[in-house]
């Protein structure tokens, strides 16, 4: 059988039956911005950062199955503009003070904001009231930064088999909760060894007493912008760089 392809910004990318646009792009090392997607977990499709145009229709790349000959618009001013607006929405919805955040430089939200040239949060801040949970001996939860990607929810449920995290509330009041009547992480089955302890793309789930082991300036996205880390590899391999 002939290999099947999608065209992402004109570039042919092979895919296998059942793969989504995002999965095909990841294998081909083509960067589609994303926050709630993680290759190890079931696609969720909630952040909408991966919005692309497939055959002229806006769709989420992480949930839309690839189809042979599909033309996908990805890196265009229109899409990046929409993504920038959604990043701004995520910034004002929570309390994100990058200069004082211990995840600065390792944070995907921050990295995408740089990548997509988001210069200001633009909208008025919501300043939600989200108390910290420092009850657990090994891990601190700073809900201020939660972007509701549900990666921890999926990791705890599908990998750890513990269901430590879940979402409650609705609309702008939606928020992360933990599995305890007291509402405290210390009263759940959570442990630092859990997969869920290491999937947060921002700075909610933080290991205690390790914050600045690697100084700001030498962290993952300080060294190379997020998009280049994906596409740079491909170019390096093909000898372009």
């Amino acid at each position: 059988m002939r290999a099947q392809y999608i065209l992402v910004d004109g570039l042919p990318i092979p895919f296998e039956e059942g793969q989504t646009i995002m999965q095909a792009a990841m294998v081909a090392e083509v960067f589609i911005p994303h926050l709630c997607h993680h290759p190890e977990f079931k696609p969720q499709g909630s952040c909408k950062l991966c919005t692309v145009k497939a055959n002229g229709r806006y769709v989420s790349a992480c949930t839309m199955p690839a189809k042979d000959g599909m033309e996908v618009e990805n890196n265009s001013p229109d899409l990046n503009d929409k993504r920038r607006t959604m990043l701004q929405m995520l910034f004002v919805e929570g309390n994100h003070f990058c200069p004082s955040c211990e995840q600065s430089g390792n944070c995907r939200l921050q990295a995408l904001a740089y990548e997509l040239e988001m210069l200001t949060p633009h909208f008025n801040q919501f300043y939600p009231d989200r108390p910290l949970d420092a009850s657990h001996p090994e891990v601190l939860l700073d809900f201020n930064r939660c972007i509701l990607c549900e990666l921890c929810v999926r990791a705890s449920r599908d990998v750890d088999g513990k269901n430590v995290f879940a979402l409650s509330g609705r609309g702008i009041g939606k928020h992360l909760i933990v599995n305890a009547e007291s509402g405290r992480l210390a009263d759940t089955a959570f442990s630092l060894a859990d997969k869920a302890a290491h999937v947060c793309p921002v700075g909610v789930i933080l290991e205690k007493r390790r914050g600045f082991a690697i100084p700001i300036g030498r962290r993952r996205y300080d060294l190379e912008p997020i998009g280049m880390q994906v596409e740079g590899q491909a170019r390096r391999r093909s000898g372009e760089l």
Partner: protein, 612 residues
């Protein structure tokens, strides 16, 4: 009830019968939560833990579900919980003033519980009583036609702690207000007529009739019904309990719509016949009817009807005496979530989960309720299927227009002399409808609710039909004296309140738009804010996960184009105005210190010491 009374076994005693009656089935979680709340007044943390244990779900999942629905409460509410319907039509009939009056009479503040725990007051999205508003719900029961005098009486009844059962019966009287009958509302068959007709035809022939009828879904999207039925019939069932399902969507939440309430009240047999016809045709043995929480008062009569049908052989095994046919119907109650009218969110809710729309594909016809092939149809659509079973597809196709066959129920409210239900063949002009319902000086009609379209006078010659002005049934009329900005502002708050919060653009975007509308309403708006609304509208349209977000700014978009002066009058300048108001920021300090003298205010300009 307080936490203290819940100690030591009391809770278990209360919970046992409820969870047992639901077979400790996690799929019935929403029903369990509703009933536990009825018993306890709210859902205290200990109760959630106990429920989670009983249905064998993680506690956080149970809390997540309880936290999703407006009518479920994690903190105490008043023993009398009063919810004022907050649709624009209620507002036009004075609901805001009536709520103020009520709060003043009882010395309470909106959103707070009175200190003695007696009463709490809030607003709620449209309760489906727009033809007899303003309306409110007391402990889930609807009271239409609220007047100042009634508000005073109700406050007295509450203060005297009179049980709801002893309140005057006429307070709870909900009228049908049927104003025009056509093919649907003139039906007077005995129960089961359509089922017998469908059995006589046989499933395949019934599908042919459905195809010939060209019936399209009456819930708004207008999807061709026979394609749904045919796909579900052909789709493979899977898993340990292979089955097909028929789901009746009675979560009529679109503000301004109330036709399904009338159908369920006075044409319930037609609805159940329609569900059964669908069951026979697609090969399903189970039907589920999802009734919006606001219509809980219809439940006892509906349950009694189902019992009657079982006794008469119109439900259960050997349906109508056919040994090989079986069908039964269960009713699930919603709990205050507009999003559950979206068919996949409805399925999630039926499975006892948060009402979040699913990723599609797969579509419900191949993987719906419990992952099985499922047909989800609107109440009115199923009634029409019953008509087709009896009268045949070609008869139905002869009504209405070529692309929009049959008739359509309109729920008419607003500035008209005769609000209520009108049954029209598709293709009727807006002007004709306005004339029939006695709309004197209409400046606008909002067709199909806040997510539909707003028509101005020059468009009144347009026709109600899928190919022109499609509608789920709402038809709200605004007289010349109405302020169309207030209409749009009400809709903006509706969507912010009802967004499920799953996807970023809708969750944050609807809240931002509502804030923008407040800014303009407070006289701080400028052209900048209008541009912002347009920008968010484009984003929501493109990137939202489901139809709620995609259509959330439709009404704003329409009114901004067609009634621009209503906005512009409010704009402070045509450039930029900050939302931040220094003087307003001092309000909290003024309240705390009890001051209101000039020195406690901040004003820019000459003579104030502060130069602009």
């Amino acid at each position: 009830m307080t936490e203290a009374c819940l100690e030591a076994g009391r809770l278990d005693e209360l919970l046992q019968p409820i969870v047992d009656a639901h077979h400790r089935d996690s799929r019935l979680l929403l029903q369990i939560l509703r009933e536990v709340q009825n018993a306890l007044g709210y859902l205290p943390a200990v109760a959630l833990t106990a429920i989670a244990r009983a249905v064998n779900l993680p506690r956080a999942r149970v809390e997540g579900v309880a936290g999703f629905y407006s009518f479920l409460h994690l903190t105490p509410v008043g023993r009398y919980r009063v919810l004022f319907s907050d649709n624009i039509t209620d507002r036009m009939l004075g609901s805001v003033e009536l709520m103020d009056r009520f709060c003043n009479r009882l010395w309470i503040e909106r959103g707070k519980v009175s200190e003695d725990g007696l009463v709490s007051v809030e607003t709620t999205s449209c309760t489906g009583m727009c033809d007899q508003g303003p309306a409110l719900l007391v402990n889930g029961l609807a009271l239409p036609r609220i007047s100042a005098e009634r508000i005073d009486r109700i406050s007295e009844l509450i203060r005297a702690q009179i049980p709801l059962a002893d309140w005057p019966g006429e307070y709870f009287l909900v009228e049908d207000n049927i104003r025009r009958r056509d093919a649907l509302l003139s039906v007077q068959w005995p129960a089961g007529e359509a089922i017998r007709a469908a059995i006589a035809r046989g499933a395949e022939a019934m599908l042919v009739e459905m195809r010939l009828s060209n019936l399209r879904g009456r819930g708004g999207a207008g999807f061709t019904t026979h394609i749904k039925w045919e796909s579900a019939r052909r789709a493979a069932c899977s898993g340990e309990q292979p089955a097909r399902y028929v789901v009746c969507n009675a979560d009529e939440g679109e503000p301004g719509t109330f036709k399904d309430r009338v159908l369920l009240n006075s044409y319930a047999d037609l609805v159940f016949d329609g569900m059964t016809v669908a069951g026979i045709t697609i090969g399903a043995r189970n039907g589920l009817l999802y009734l919006r929480g606001e219509y809980a008062s219809l439940l006892p009569a509906l349950q009694a009807n189902l019992m009657r049908r079982r006794l008469n052989g119109l439900l259960g095994t050997s349906l109508c005496g056919q040994a090989d046919l079986a069908f039964d119907i269960e009713i699930h109650l919603g709990a205050g979530a507009y999003i559950c009218g979206e068919e996949t969110a409805l399925l999630e809710s039926l499975e006892g989960k948060r009402g979040v729309p699913r990723i599609r594909p797969p579509f419900p016809v191949s993987a719906g309720y419990l992952g099985q092939p499922t047909v989800v149809n609107n109440v009115e659509t199923l009634c029409k299927a019953a008509l087709i079973a009896v009268n045949g597809g070609p008869w139905f196709a002869g009504l209405g227009t070529k692309q929009s066959t049959g008739t359509k129920l309109l729920s008419i409210s607003g500035d008209v002399e005769r609000p209520g239900i009108y049954d029209y063949p598709f293709g009727v002009s807006v002007a004709q409808v306005l004339n029939d319902c006695g709309a004197g000086h209409a400046q606008a009609v909002q067709v199909s609710g806040p997510s539909g379209s707003c028509l101005a006078t020059h468009e009144f010659s347009r026709r109600i039909a899928f190919e022109d002005v499609p509608t789920a049934g709402a038809f709200m009329v605004f007289g010349a004296h109405r302020d169309m900005f207030e209409v749009a502002r009400n809709f903006a708050h509706f969507f912010a309140h009802e967004s499920c919060g799953f996807c970023t653009p809708c969750r944050v975007g609807t809240a931002l738009v509502a804030n923008c509308m407040e800014k303009i309403a407070n006289g701080h708006g400028s052209q900048y804010d209008i541009n912002e609304i347009f920008k968010i509208h484009r984003l929501l349209h493109a990137a939202s996960h489901c139809g709620l977000g995609q259509s959330a700014c439709n009404a704003l978009f329409d009114t901004l184009h067609k009634f621009r002066p209503a906005y512009e009058r409010r704009l402070r300048s045509l450039d930029f105005e900050p939302a931040f108001d220094l003087d307003q920021a001092l309000a909290a300090a003024r309240q705390m210190t009890g001051r209101d003298d000039p020195a406690a205010h901040f004003r820019l300009g000459p003579g104030t010491g502060v130069e602009p």
